[in-house]
Amino acid sequence: MSEQAPILEMKKIRKEFPGVLALSGVDFRLWKGEVHALMGQNGAGKSTLVKVLTGVHRHDGGEMLLEGRPIRPDSPLAAQKLGINAVYQEINLCPNLSVAENVFIGREPLRLGRIDWKAMREKAREVLGRLNLSVDVTRTLSSCSIAVQQMVAIARVLDSAAKVLVLDEPTSSLDEREVAQLFKVVRKLRDEGMAILFITHFLDQTYQIADRITILKNGEFVGEYEAAKLPKLELVAKMLGKELSEFSQASPGEGEKSRTASVSAGELLRARGLGRRGGVAPFDLDLDGGEVLGLAGLLGSGRTETARLLFGIDKADCGEISVKGKPAQIGSPRAAMALGIGFCSEDRKNEGIFAELSIRENLILALQTKLGAFRFIAPKRQVEIADRLIRELGIKTPSSSGEAKQLSGGNQQKVMLARWLATDPGILILDEPTRGIDVGAKLEIMEQILNLSRAGLGLLFISSEFEEVLRCSGRVAVFKDKALVAQLAGPEMTESGIMRTIAGGR
């Protein structure tokens, strides 16, 4: 394979967004007839690299060569004309049109100046046949399964002179049978000489399909490996930017303290067989008062989906939850709040802070929601509550009436935490509370988490940083490929333990 020149070569690609260096000197090579997996954690730069390749973004430095010639596509259309096509997770087709039309729209066969529907249907059948897919091409796309829609998206791309095919998380909403069907098609295309760039969060799938793996971390190139020669554990380690030798020394850290300090205040939350199709496989989870339970896993492993189920944002389609020993129905966030559950989203900007509102208003929100809109909290009382929370959590602001957007990331995170504390919750779910804030603020947040658990709260702490999870948690639930695969406690609770669990398969 390597004897030939690569069909696509990206050299020292640099891409800068205002304030962020998304890619700093990333190399990527793709050969004809291979499936090349691009791996990396959140913020590694995978999607930016793909967007540069497909003409959504333009690179600021480095060069791209397609069949030895430099290219610089400035739109998805320009990239398509060069033979570079992408199929995304959120399928970019028109749900209201027929299967045949989705394959051919934009280049419909014409006859006497009008669209030749018959010819279009025939050609569509032919192209889909190449993918071993027999489907009524006159069906409306929205009536087809996601897997079929995925194939239609691929078929659309095939008809033009495609050289490079980018599959961005194509399997994230498919079941096993559908994944197998898709992989069959991918292998077929590979054998026909297509160069395929494959992105997935599923480690096992990577090994099933990929010939070669390129790993990115924080916008930097980590390395290019042959899949067969890269052990899974090493892949996980490289994605996290650790050396294998580091693991052995990793200590349980301060989690030990919280464990000893915690006086069990009784069972708070118990989930049995809770799951959601397309979200997370059924799992059992227990949380006691005064306990911090860490949820660890790679991006897309099902951590956030679990949190969303427990807070009622997504509805579970099976399983039971009980809160404080009583069976509970959590059908909405409101219901969850009534049961004393709070949730800080990982998406601070969009799902957390109201940037235009004052800090005080941000702090009062959840409490007001809990009380209902008609039991208005008097302004004086609002100020009291806000000032107390600002003091207790050490939010750095001159006054509670400033706009929330003026706060630093760490202080915004504290505001979100404080917002829930105002409602006096029994259970707090924190999804990536330490993401994107500086080290000092991280330590403060973690200190708060431990304080709260000492006060008897049950906390679920989600983080991509295994160190942080270990430092705060008394137990760790490990997620992989949308399922809870193990719960670690005591001496098993080390970074290497988590990684081995993730690498070890279900």
């Binding site: 087709l93 209201n96 049109l97 799951g275 997370v280 949308k482």
Partner: protein, 335 residues
């Protein structure tokens, strides 16, 4: 969109509309002597030709997921311009008609450009167009201008024999030609299919490499053209230009399109349904006229009721479509 596709959910709403029309026309025929006649049926077209022209343009806009609130005012502006140029400026019909149509096309294209280039909501931009065009009417003339031009008078009085003693006006021929053109565009041209794609998912349409910008400007230009043409047809009917013409007519056009089964969310619908929608609208008016004691405002109440009903119907269809889509979306987790 095969023969099989013609009886699927997409065309079901317009079949419901056809059924409704037949039901209403049948009920009228049984209740009122003299109601059931070919001429009475043809009169529906004669009396609503201008609305049909307006509604065809509106259908294109709504299929693309947009809305055009300016059409009523544009119609008024078109009647004002026509009458002014004919009567005050002394232009010939051969000059007036192309000019008026060009003005409509240009104003529509301008609104389309604003909507696309600055990603403004069509609702707001065409609302601005509504005020602008209505205001321009008064710039042309504050008073109504009667049209005495021979060609216009001729078009108003001419009757084209349809069958036996029955006949239609030239306006009907114009309206039907517009319907045919609209149908052809939507069904058989790349431009038309792009309209459906934009209505289905605009983001996808862009990523699929379709000419979204050009198409969006195009549909508002066509809607502008249709409202200008509709104004000319309207002035054949009324033989006057008046700044208060066509007030609220944009709502009539939207209502007939919705009753005709085109989804307000875009992506589904067509001009055949719109024809049925206009027929239903016309029949309600005739029924109320024949009934004799009801105020003509009852037309509005009936239309309002029907729009509610059809929006509800659309929701049911959408829910049906959504469900069938979700069935297949199984995830890796199963219970």
């Amino acid at each position: 969109m095969s023969r099989k596709g013609l009886i699927n959910l997409r065309s079901l709403p317009s079949l419901v509309t056809l059924g409704l029309f037949l039901l209403m026309f049948g009920a009228g025929s049984l209740s009122f002597p003299g109601f059931f006649s070919l001429q009475n049926f043809l009169n529906l077209f004669i009396d609503n030709a201008y609305l049909l022209v307006l509604a065809v343009g509106m259908t294109l806009v709504i299929v693309a997921g947009g809305i055009d609130l300016s059409v009523g005012s544009m119609l008024a502006l078109s009647t004002m311009l026509s009458s002014f140029l004919l009567e005050r400026a002394g232009w010939k019909p051969g000059q007036v008609i192309p000019t008026v149509l060009a003005v409509g096309l240009a104003l529509g294209a301008f609104m389309g450009y604003m909507i696309h280039a600055f990603s403004l909501p069509p609702f707001i931009v065409t609302l601005a167009g509504l005020y602008l065009a209505r205001g321009l009417c008064y710039v042309v003339s504050i008073d109504a201008i009667g049209i005495k031009n021979e060609f216009w008078q001729g078009m108003a009085n001419a009757r084209i024999p349809a069958e036996a003693a029955n006949s239609v006006s030239p306006s009907v021929i114009i309206a039907l030609a517009v319907v045919a053109a609209g149908g052809f565009i939507l069904r058989s041209t790349k431009f038309g299919r792009t309209i459906y794609a934009i209505g289905g998912n605009e983001q996808s349409a862009v990523l699929m490499g379709l000419p979204v910008a050009r198409t969006k400007v195009g549909i508002y230009a066509i809607s502008g053209f249709c409202s200008a043409l509709s104004g000319i047809v309207f002035s054949f009917y009324t033989l006057a230009g008046y700044a208060l013409n066509g007030r609220g007519m944009e709502m009539d056009a939207i209502a007939t399109v919705v009753i005709g089964g085109t989804l307000l969310t875009g992506g589904v619908g067509g001009v055949v349904g719109t024809v049925f929608g206009v027929l239903v609208y016309g029949t309600i008016q005739v029924l109320i006229m024949f009934q004799g004691t009801l105020n003509s405002w009852w037309t509005r109440i009936a239309i309002g009721f029907l729009v509610f009903l059809f929006c509800l119907l659309q929701r049911v269809f959408e829910a049906g479509r959504g469900k069938s889509g979700k069935d297949g979306s199984a995830g890796p987790a199963s219970c």
